[in-house]
């Protein structure tokens, strides 16, 4: 009986050691990059054998968590300011920052014929809610406000704005029909080169470029899988194709 128990224990321990020796990295990812990073992580695992464990959320929240000791090796932010700040504050490896994608903003409705290709709908009104991400913490939300200001419609639209905690929630408000339209990331609505519903891809001159930077955090400095993942994201052709296929530019 004792012998059997110890054999089971040895078996369990050996399984554990196999799992532990496969390199893993914890990656915090901005909500707009949730879909592409899943594909990239799968490709990464296939090509390198390392595993990237992904958590998605608002960049601002990740910043607060990282500063307070969250166990992330890498941050794929929705902006370039947060990674710069982390580097300045000694939370990340120096000189390892790079832009992995440049995001695009889109005015989107889940229904056809709501959004026209000149965004006249913003001037015409006639809708009750306009969904955006909280501009205080989400770069795509800030870009949405910038766009509305550039079009001179912000003051008129302000009472109709509803805010998602991050861009994923802003999208969810529209997808469930609770907000007839709103500003989201192109990557959230572009599937296989198509967009359901109606949309207007916001011209890039209306908002500051959404440069999304990646950064190697202190916790990941000695993690082989973390270094490999950043390298994969930066140089691998398959990864770049995935990023482009979601409407980002590089």
């Amino acid at each position: 009986m004792k012998n059997r128990a110890s054999r089971i224990l040895v078996a369990l321990l050996s399984i554990y050691s196999v799992v532990a020796s496969a390199d893993e990295t914890q990656v915090a990812v901005a909500a707009n990059f949730a879909a592409p990073v899943q594909k990239i992580a799968a490709e990464f695992e296939k090509q390198t054998g390392h595993k990237a464990i992904v958590a998605t959320g608002a960049t601002g929240k990740f910043y607060a968590q990282i500063v307070n000791g969250a166990p992330f090796d890498i941050l794929l932010a929705a902006d370039d300011e947060t990674p710069a700040k982390l580097e300045k504050e000694g939370q990340s490896a120096v000189g390892k920052r790079f832009t992995y994608a440049i995001g695009k903003l889109v005015l989107w409705s889940a229904k056809a014929a709501v959004v026209d290709d000149k965004a006249e709908v913003l001037k015409r009104g006639g809708f009750d809610h306009l969904s955006i991400a909280n501009p205080k913490v989400a770069p795509y939300g800030a870009a949405a406000v910038e766009t509305m200001k550039a079009l001179g419609v912000y003051d008129a639209l302000q009472p109709k704005i509803v805010m998602g905690e991050n861009i994923a929630q802003a999208h969810q408000f529209i997808a469930t029909g609770n907000a007839p339209l709103g500003f989201v990331a192109l990557s959230q609505v572009l599937k296989d080169g198509k967009i359901e519903g109606s949309y207007w891809i916001v011209p890039e001159k209306l908002y500051s470029p959404i440069r999304q930077d990646a950064v190697l955090l202190n916790k990941g400095k000695d993690n082989k899988a973390a270094a490999a993942f950043l390298d994969f994201l930066k140089t691998n052709k398959a990864a770049k194709d995935i990023i482009l296929s979601y409407g980002y530019s590089l």
């Binding site: 205080k136 509803v162 805010m163 469930t176 609770n178």
Partner: protein, 226 residues
Amino acid sequence: MNFTPSDWAAIRLTLELATLATALLILFGTPVAWWLAHTKSRLKPLVTSLVAMPLVLPPSVIGFYLLVFMGPNGPLGHLTQSLGLGTLPFTFTGLLVASCIYSTPFVVQPLHNAFEAIDDRMYEAAATLRAGPIDRFFSVAVPLAKPGFLTAAVLGFAHTVGEFGVVLMIGGNIPDKTRVVSVQIYDYVEALEYGEAHRLAAVMLIFAFVVLFLLYTFNPTRKKAA
């Protein structure tokens, strides 16, 4: 306390929401609790379970279903639209509906317990004095269940003030309409404005303690009866 105007707006909104939700819950929760305390129906376990559900369900589940049900394609959304009320998410009314659902067990359960603890002979005695059912309810049950009403009101109010997840999911964070204190604090934390967050969070902490302390000091449970 240097609260900003938007802090004050959030505080006022939270108090309004909690007050209205508590009033509605006492109004509609009392008959339910009364029924639960006296029924011999086979539906009793069903209703008891439904009332207790919000205790167990994560706010994300309640928030998600409310968003779908109250949305333009949901059953409740169809109803409110056909009544010309529009849809409920992102409105104060929507938050009120959500709060009532979310805080139901905190009001109904204490009332249910209080009604159940009343000796049936009290009603019989009142009946021999020709008190009708309604009279018996107001002149026997309500006074005897007073501690239950107090507990129900305080917990219903405090729990609504402490609500966060559901509001975050269906509120849309609109100043003066759906941005309650808990959401305002979350905003501050997310924006790394920890000083502002601390001020409001400290108020919530003190509020929660004082309310519960007063409740348990002045409303002791009926030990004698046991």
